[in-house]
Symmetry: D2
Subunit: 342 residues, 4 copies
């Protein structure tokens, strides 16, 4: 960590600050320039609050040199993490992460009925999807919008898992519901709860894989700090997910930040999956962006599929039909072959 | 609500859509143009999900004409809401909202000790602050940062309330902690929890005043929809708070959006307060921005004050000393006089 | 175009507004609701200034239904435009645009010397690049930074063109320099000049192909309106270029908006190329993002290549070596095969 | 300037880099940590290109300690600059800048006719405006929108100046038009041309006061670097203008960044004025934001006024009537009294 002091900082102030920093176990190197004095702080600086240090009158600015995340940091864990998801009936595990393990996650936005979820599960499975997604608890901007089938939705997902053998992923919104998620294979933390730290702490106490979505306006560093909350509790089974960020552009609902893939893969050992459906908001952009995500090195995709978007009038804006999904899956598979060739 | 249909929408499609909309109780007016057909939807459209409608192949775009919030909407409640906060010992109420009722909320970022909170409370009260703030549960980006004194912090705030007669406001992060907030006068929902809908629903079940902070990257409409979640549960005692939004600018920590004040006052009857401390991140910007907020018509200010920012090394970036606060309070008072003059 | 009027608009106001609109040749359909009156305006609305209409007291909001761009609009020109770039010595043309014509543009950030530009030109040509890029006039944020070799730089590019047979593209910053660009094959308008309307008008008077870069904070609609400025003057040879937009994220220099590719291809018939070098700012992100751009359907790539980034100390942050470029070009070629397969 | 090197940088690489930096006249201090090596660079670093240095493989990140602007920097010019604008007929000068000199600039968006500009000039002058604004050359997003009266518009402004004695400010879009601006008192550079460096260089060759508007998505540092372009040419008569930045919020046209006022006043000695009309887009937000700007310490305001916004149908969204302007001017005057009180 580097602290730049203003040129009018007095010797006494600098000595006091140095003593305080040394008291926290840091070594302090001082370089004096004409306009500024620079303090180089060596040691475990993760305990130092940058913003608070910047608040001191004598301090011009503070810069972290080492990232504030540790468990998620590739520097301390150079090899890719591979998250294992147990298949039902002791049929082994699915892997996600590393150069070889790519998974397609697919399913409806909301679980609606036993027939709907089973029919979609079977068709996406036939096209190559290996994990079933479906919303039971739904975060909606408006209190007047459909809030999901909640506990009943999870029951329907578990039933579909039993029938198809696909592991399932669904979103949690409240740590009080954790008991309902016992047989859920991957727990999703949605974009709006990425910094619900109380929830993250609870999830850190279990060994269940977590799909952690980046918030709409959160930096990659904040995403990794939220992963760090879960990992600090002991749960290292984390899959990161980029799903579009909020920008000034209005033609697309969000701006899918695909450069997050190589950037995250450099910063962390955790796997990175992409959700093109939520990012784009319209089905016709999903195929090109799914292909692009695979080309950029994603470890997986999470795609919304609906069995009957035309009749199901109030859905479909961002959902593919099973036929469209099959085509995407085929193209993505070919892109993966190019990516993994030496 | 207006739905613009693409020019290749077939008559059958249009009839199906119209029938479906009429089945939801809406009247549908159709205007056919050369390139587009426009459906004007009249009735209670708050139940219609815009994004889902936009997902239909035949739909070009959808535009809400009436806002999706009702209880918070000034159109249905033209008079300013005035929130009443009971003073201890049956000494009447403090009011916030309307043209006349302006309140200064002040206190430390975190509650640290009995002496600290009491000393700050007494000094800010002497300078005109009427409500005491202080963090007990602290949302921190890093799991390694200080997380607040939690329940003990609330105890210290309640003790300061008893001694000074000032009502208190402090942040909640988890509905499970609600019992601890029984004697807290205003419950704060922080920016990161603005869309923690499970928490908002719980807060809607009580009559306690809520200070609802705008998320870093949330629109004014989303802020009002979050207020609507609380109001839909029956609690109409809501104070909105702007505290800076995330933009590309890096010299200031966040960009304080003061145009939110007149814009919110037009859209809603709820009072609007401004937090210049968190928005700017540095104490020397707090005075001009506090004055500007008052000039723009805010109903109150929430300002961080620390008794000894120099010795208390790890604080102060954004906190004023009691002396600086006294000066701000005096200037703000004079600005208020200009604002309220006929 | 739709104008939503406030419910307190008087009949007289509505009649006046309607008369004024009809005087501009528009047909006006009126739908009255309880809270709003909606005017549907049919006809050539491109002459109506949306923002000015929104300023009227009685108007709640205005929404364009047809886009304000015409010449660039795919609705009026359904087939892809294919831009032809003449090869030197009457050796035919290079094509860019449509599903089949993909071009790799490569070269150094700045032209520095005859040896540098020739050496890079030869090596990228051997790896599959078909067009040579190089900066002669350089827009620099600081007046103290290197401003380019200017006219001399163009001379060196023309010399390299003569020797290698590659068409060249370079940036213009001032219409007064146009004479220098007579033998330049594609004139680039940089991001900072995307809304330099005086320059755009001058470029509209020639038939020279223009590479129009999206501004750092410009919407896709604004990009298309800038294309429209050039096209309105008679020059329809426009290649659009996405090169990253400004967002809150700081790990990457800009956020490359790849969803712009399918979105632009839907809105316009003009070809779309991607500049991953400027967007990412660091060479190690260029390969994955180049592959992703090709997978998303781009018509070409523009990539910075430097012959000796290690010795040439003050360059290279975002430039590839010729060897790295060769590898990117090979991978991109394979991605293109997947994209163009039926 | 600080350069942080990766821990795998070899001694030879570090020595080469150090030698290269010393060759540019800098002193280099080296601090070695476990994970990083930090180079502190002392001397004139404004000639070093940060981004290019960051591109070196061995470099983790680079941070400027001293700002890259010099002439505009308050560190080297502690006293406020006061820009003097000569009044016609040798009646002395108007001053802008410093704690005491506040000016109100007012006038129509576009100059339309002799009667219009004269009538507005007289009425705003009576209400306390001291400088007349009016658009002659208009930058419009659409080529089909009204582009201004151009040279004729300037003639009308000069006529109004002669009749009323008010200095005038109007926008330039092309350095080729400079001859037309000989008698214009302040030349405005609009937001879209803030980084039209060729234009800035031309303006640096004259001593005419320049009103430099911040681009929609430009940082304060970029604004100051553009001022630096003009100052590097010898013209130090620059007035900075904040007019709203582009954010995700859509209720307001732009987000007026009032914290730019105290921040710029800290960074530079140049005066700062605020344009609330363009930022907000609607007249009813202009009064509160004008008051807020004055309260935050602006040196002036630039406000659009139209004599007849109701009849002049295609204007007025953001323009005040002369009566509304008179009220704003009165309130602003009272706020200024509070600001300038000891």
């Amino acid at each position: 960590m580097i602290a730049v002091l203003k040129h009018n900082a007095t010797n006494e102030q600098i000595e006091n600050l140095t003593a305080w920093l040394e008291g926290r176990g840091l070594k302090v190197h001082i370089s004096r320039g004409d306009l500024y004095t620079i303090l180089g702080l060596i040691g475990d600086t993760s305990q130092i609050d940058t913003e608070l240090l910047e608040g001191l009158e004598m301090v011009d600015s503070v810069k972290r040199v080492s990232e504030p995340f540790k468990s998620a940091n590739r520097k301390f864990h150079p090899a890719d993490s591979v998250i294992e998801i147990p298949l039902p009936d002791s049929k082994g595990v699915l892997k996600i992460g590393g150069d070889e393990n790519f998974q397609m996650i697919a399913g409806p936005c909301s679980v609606e009925s036993p027939e709907q979820i089973l029919s979609i599960a079977e068709s996406v499975s036939a096209s190559g999807a290996t994990i079933l997604r479906g919303g039971a608890f739904k975060p909606r901007t408006s209190p007047y919008d459909f809030q999901g089938l909640r506990a009943d939705g999870i029951e329907l997902l578990l039933e579909a898992k039993k029938r198809t053998g696909m592991p399932i992923v669904t979103e949690i919104m409240n740590a009080n519901h954790l008991d309902l998620f016992d047989e859920v294979d991957i727990i999703q933390v949605g974009a709006r709860n990425m910094q619900n730290f109380e929830l993250l702490k609870e999830l850190g106490k279990r060994q269940k894989p977590i799909l952690l979505k980046r918030g709409l306006a959160n930096t990659l560093q904040e995403l990794l700090m939220s992963a760090e909350y879960i990992m600090a509790g002991g749960n290292h089974n984390i899959i990161l997910c980029e799903r579009g960020i909020r920008t000034f552009e209005t033609y697309t609902r969000n701006t899918l930040d695909l450069s997050a893939i190589p950037m995250l893969r450099e910063l962390t050992h955790l796997p990175v999956v992409i959700d093109p459906s939520h990012a784009c908001g319209v089905a016709r952009l999903v195929q090109p962006m799914a292909m692009a995500a695979a080309a950029a090195g994603a470890h997986g995709l999470i795609i919304e599929v609906h069995n009957d978007p035309v009749n199901a009038l109030c859905d479909g804006a961002q959902s593919l039909t099973p036929e469209q999904f099959a085509k995407v899956a085929e193209k993505v598979q070919k892109i993966r072959e190019v990516v993994t060739q030496a």
